[in-house]
């Protein structure tokens, strides 16, 4: 097995031209014929993991479309980006999904947005765009303008047709519960009595076309605002990942104090997000006391965020090259006091709750995801760590101030809902300990780098460990202070497909807890279609209603 970095670089050089874009990150440009072979080596033989596939329209620059497969090699602390140029006439390259099933969605997305065909892909259907979207319009291509597109679509009335189609496909639900709502994640469960035999998923109702807006209208320093609004729960981590990607591309050195402040806020965000998750889990298990108590403690963390940044959510603290606001001694003292209180309270509350029979009997050995399946689907974050895979961007690809901290990466082998809860439980206390280290050791210095200049057409990769898992942003800088291509990949993108594996063979009543266990954005509002295999009657329910036993 290859271990050292030079050996891997020699191997990459055999396949194509290797270019170092920034620290520990290499782009290897290869011909389409060799993609599968190299991806197989990177994912399976070198024990790295597939992270994201990015499509890009580079016709104005070099006359080709580009596809980038990003792999993270945790052991070697390397990131390898496999770049394939796609012929703009044939638009065909081999798919890597047959080797790495986790690439399924990523390739379908590139097919939607750029019209690139992935040969031998098992299911190259539309993923994000609606099924009746006009053929041949690919919104992220550079020759597509937002305004013209809107005009074209208005004529066709795309939105309305989708609705009618949906009604034909799904029988109108029975009962007083109204189904037609927010559907960020829409699951169809096929049941036989109480047992789930199959599950399907249709999502992307919240697709807002963020990438198009960022590439067409916003300047480099405006993008952090929209990046923060990708997710209202873990937005800051997207913000940091984007800024890091641009800083890496432009080789900007961020002052240490700014790095510390970023880490502090990232950890505060993690604690609040995990507490939110515990609340949701308890609520879905019908344990509302737990929900209320964890959210009460969470308010202390929200206050802390407000004291440090001025807002409870969407902090707006980052600039490319540093942070906007400083933290003074008084705030540090107050933060440390709050953290002591939160730690004391949480130990008391969560220790008791995780031992309750009502909780353990509904989470242990439920929603199993084996290590092999987890590797195949390339899951990330707490879901991977609960299935015995030790992966953590903070440890293996250190960013911000994490290389200076002492912390543990909790790993459990059981792969059930309970171990996912345990991973998050451990992480909360690790985060609190990290926060204390950060607040005590924060160095003096500047907040922003001087001379922030961003050169044209440079690539940068920004990695952060979001509360839900690794978060990857690939940025190609453009002309006139804009980004040419920006692809943020949120952790749930890799994790959601794994719920379909977890759900099979489980009881219907456990479905809410299983779906919530991967921490998809906010499961309370999700919908599930229940289909009885025997009678073939379809019923649409909200997760909450299943939790109530409806």
């Amino acid at each position: 097995m290859l271990t050292s970095i030079t050996e891997i670089l020699n191997l990459l050089k055999k396949y194509g031209k290797v270019e170092k874009i920034h620290k520990d990150t290499y782009v290897v440009e290869i011909s389409p014929g060799k993609v599968r072979e190299l991806c197989e080596i990177l994912h399976w033989k070198l024990n790295g993991h597939f992270s994201v596939t990015v499509g890009s329209d580079e016709r104005p620059v070099n006359g080709y479309f580009g596809v980038y497969h990003v792999f993270l090699l945790d052991k070697q602390k390397l990131s390898v980006i496999v770049h394939v140029k796609v012929n703009p006439v044939t638009l065909k390259i081999p798919s890597i999904t047959p080797i790495i099933p986790g690439a399924n969605w990523h390739e379908r997305e590139a097919h939607d947005f750029f019209g690139i065909f992935f040969e031998e892909h098992p299911n190259l259907e539309r993923l994000i765009l609606p099924y009746d979207w006009p053929e041949g319009i690919h919104p992220l291509r550079k020759d597509v303008n937002v305004r013209e597109l809107r005009y074209k679509l208005l004529k066709k009335e795309t939105g309305l047709v989708v609705e009618k189609k949906a009604e034909e496909e799904y029988i109108v639900p029975i009962g007083p519960y109204h189904p037609a709502l927010h559907e960020p994640e829409y699951f169809e469960l096929y049941v036989e009595g109480e047992k789930i035999v199959d599950a399907r998923y249709k999502g992307f109702h919240v697709h807002r076309g963020i990438e198009k807006v960022a590439e067409e209208r916003l300047t480099i320093n405006q993008v952090p605002f929209i990046a923060e609004r990708i997710c209202g729960i873990c937005g800051y981590t997207h913000n940091v990942a984007y800024c890091q990607a641009v800083e890496n591309a432009a080789r900007i050195d961020v002052p240490l104090r700014a790095k510390y402040i970023r880490s502090i806020l990232l950890e505060i965000e993690r604690v609040h997000s995990h507490l939110l998750w515990f609340g949701v889990l308890f609520h879905l298990l019908g344990f509302d006391t737990g929900f209320m108590m964890t959210w009460l403690v969470r308010e202390k963390i929200m206050d802390l965020a407000e004291i440090l940044t001025g807002n409870r959510k969407n902090y707006g603290m980052n600039l490319v090259g540093g942070v906007r606001r400083d933290i003074n001694e008084e705030k540090i003292k107050l933060s440390l006091e709050t953290l002591d209180y939160v730690e004391y309270k949480l130990r008391k509350i969560l220790d008791k709750m995780l031992k309750l029979k009502e909780i353990t009997s509904r989470t242990k050995e439920i929603g199993l995801l084996s290590r092999e399946e987890a590797r195949k689907l390339s899951v990330v974050g707490p879901v991977a760590r609960a299935s015995g895979i030790s992966t953590d961007v903070r440890r293996y690809h250190p960013y911000a101030a994490y290389s200076e901290l002492e912390f543990k990466v909790p790993v459990y082998d059981a792969g059930d809902v309970y171990s996912r809860a345990l991973v998050r439980y451990d992480e909360i206390f690790e985060s609190i300990s990290m926060l204390k280290q950060l607040l005590k050791n924060i160095p003096k210095g500047d907040l922003t780098a001087e001379n922030v200049k961003v050169p044209e057409y440079r690539k940068g990769l920004g990695l952060t460990e979001a509360p839900r898992g690794e978060n990857v942003h690939l940025v190609i800088t453009g002309r006139e202070n804009k980004v040419y291509r920006w692809r943020p990949r949120a952790p749930s993108y890799n994790n959601v497909p794994s719920t379909l594996v977890m759900l099979k063979g489980e009881k219907l009543a456990d479905a809410p807890a299983i779906i919530a266990s991967i921490d998809p954005c906010f499961s309370c509002t999700d919908h599930v279609v229940v289909i009885d295999v025997r009678t073939n009657v379809k019923q649409v329910l909200r997760l909450k209603e299943i939790a109530r036993g409806k």
């Binding site: 809107r150 109702h205 076309g209 198009k212 929209i226 209202g232 308010e299 409870r312 906010f522």
Partner: protein, 151 residues
């Protein structure tokens, strides 16, 4: 003229308005979690009788967060029609009001909430604090009261 039963209903509506929370699609969940935070012990709106209704048919106040996407347009209208009269609509957050950084012209988006349904109270902020959301709901209650008096 308002009979006894109607007066009782108006009193009950004022003392315990039920809200239906509708995330309209183009949003980041920030407003949603702040609405949920308003229900938890620190703010505890339940002591005022404000309750999250499971269905729009049981609700008095519709709380909409986020701007409307093409996927959710029809559904928003359908949900609005299902809320019984008298009803009030509270638009929470900048996305619902103006589209925020996402703009209103991008391909998956249909527009702001008030382009599709009448909005009574706007709660600005990104996301607004739970206190602001509670104030918005109180304003909506006033509107409900006014309407019952008129009728």
């Amino acid at each position: 003229m308002c009979g006894l039963l109607c007066k009782l209903a108006a009193w009950a509506r004022k003392k315990s308005p039920w809200i239906f929370h509708l995330p309209a699609g183009g949003l980041c969940n920030g407003c949603d979690i702040e609405i949920v935070a308003a229900l938890t012990p620190r703010y505890d709106v339940e002591r005022f009788g404000i309750l999250l209704a499971p269905s729009p048919k049981h609700a008095d106040i519709l709380v909409v967060a986020g701007q409307v996407t093409k996927h959710t347009k029809e559904r928003l209208l359908r949900v609005y029609q299902q809320v019984p009269e008298p009803k009030a609509v509270v638009a929470v957050g900048s996305c619902a009001i103006s589209g925020n950084v996402f703009g209103t012209e991008n391909y998956p988006l249909a527009g702001t909430v008030d382009q599709f349904i009448p909005v009574d109270v706007y709660v600005p902020g990104c996301p607004p604090k739970p206190e602001a959301i509670i104030l918005g709901i109180v304003e909506a209650i006033k509107k409900l009261e006014g309407e019952t008096r008129k009728s």
